[in-house]
């Protein structure tokens, strides 16, 4: 619960007051925090006695998660896009306004 509240406070700060030019610093903080969390997870993993023997099993479980999450996402998006998006895009031509977007992202 505390995590959700803290995140919401962040959203509010970001929406109302946070200057966009500080975005790079904010992104760096995220990278550092993520690296530290993964490092601490690694410590906990490594301090298990039978860590190496567990590793293969973790790999298989992970592969199942990856395959099923891709499969289900593909099924739903394919279904939705065939049913609604294809038709809508033919009518409204979604491709009209992407030039400014490309400039910003790429």
């Amino acid at each position: 619960m505390a995590v959700m509240v803290i995140m919401l406070l962040g959203v509010l700060l970001g929406y109302r007051w946070f200057p966009e030019r500080w975005g790079k610093w904010n992104a760096s903080i995220q990278v550092i925090c993520i690296a530290l969390l993964i490092f601490s997870m690694g410590i906990k993993l490594g301090s298990r006695e039978n860590f190496l023997s567990e590793l293969t099993q973790l790999g298989w479980k992970s592969l199942l998660f990856a395959l099923l999450s891709i499969l289900f996402s593909v099924i739903f998006v394919y279904w939705f896009s065939e049913k609604w998006i294809q038709k809508t895009s033919q009518k409204t031509n979604l491709g009209e306004e992407q030039s400014d977007l490309k400039g910003e992202r790429l």
Partner: protein, 199 residues
């Protein structure tokens, strides 16, 4: 990011296995609470500060939301299936699947919230999802349709897998891909927390 994330993981394992005394892990646990809070605050700022998505959403009609909606639905549902197959609590399996390819955040968060094993699976499964997306995007464009090629990429469709979208799809699909990645990225921490606490 991949280099930083994998280096951090390997360094952590090496330190945990051979270098650090066992009682250090308690202190590291306490410290990582605060790191998670700082991370969530910072991610929140990014979400709130991203006016670009709101602007673009107003320009397009709501059908663009169907892609992220399908990905969110598919990912969460796969979490339930994996939970049943692997005999894992839904409060762990559904948040893992909600990582939608953002392995670093998902791995870091789940490692802190649900323990190192869940964290490792979140990290590895979402990394695999990203890698498999690279291989699948051209095939999906060819055999299904270009919009569906965004589906495996999930939250990564705005950055790491975007070059593949640019190469194999048209410009309008690339715009949808960027929008989808931003929305899914914002939803990863929200869904991870939500499903971990509610299920």
């Amino acid at each position: 990011m991949i280099v930083i994330a994998i280096t951090a993981l390997i360094l952590g394992v090496v330190c945990g296995q051979w270098l650090f005394p066992a009682d250090w892990s308690r202190w590291i646990g306490i410290l990582s609470d605060y790191i998670l809070y700082l991370l969530m605050f910072s991610v929140g700022i990014s979400i709130g500060n991203n006016k670009f998505v709101l602007k673009k959403l107003r320009e397009y009609n709501l059908t663009v939301l169907l892609i992220p909606f399908g990905i969110v639905l598919g990912s969460a549902l796969s979490g339930f299936f994996c939970g049943v197959i692997l005999n894992m609590p839904f409060s762990v399996s559904v948040p893992i699947a909600s990582g939608m390819g953002w392995y670093s955040l998902s791995g870091g968060m789940m490692g802190k919230l649900a323990g190192p094993e869940a964290g490792a699976i979140a990290f590895l499964s979402n990394l695999l999802r990203e890698i498999l997306s690279f291989l699948l995007i051209p095939l999906i464009v060819k055999y299904l349709n270009p919009y569906t090629a965004i589906a495996p990429a999930g939250a990564t469709s705005e950055d790491t897998t975007l070059p593949m979208m640019i190469k194999y799809t048209s410009e309008d699909v690339v715009v949808l891909s960027v929008l989808n990645g931003m929305l899914c990225s914002a939803l990863v921490p929200v869904m991870t927390n939500f499903f971990y606490e509610v299920l």
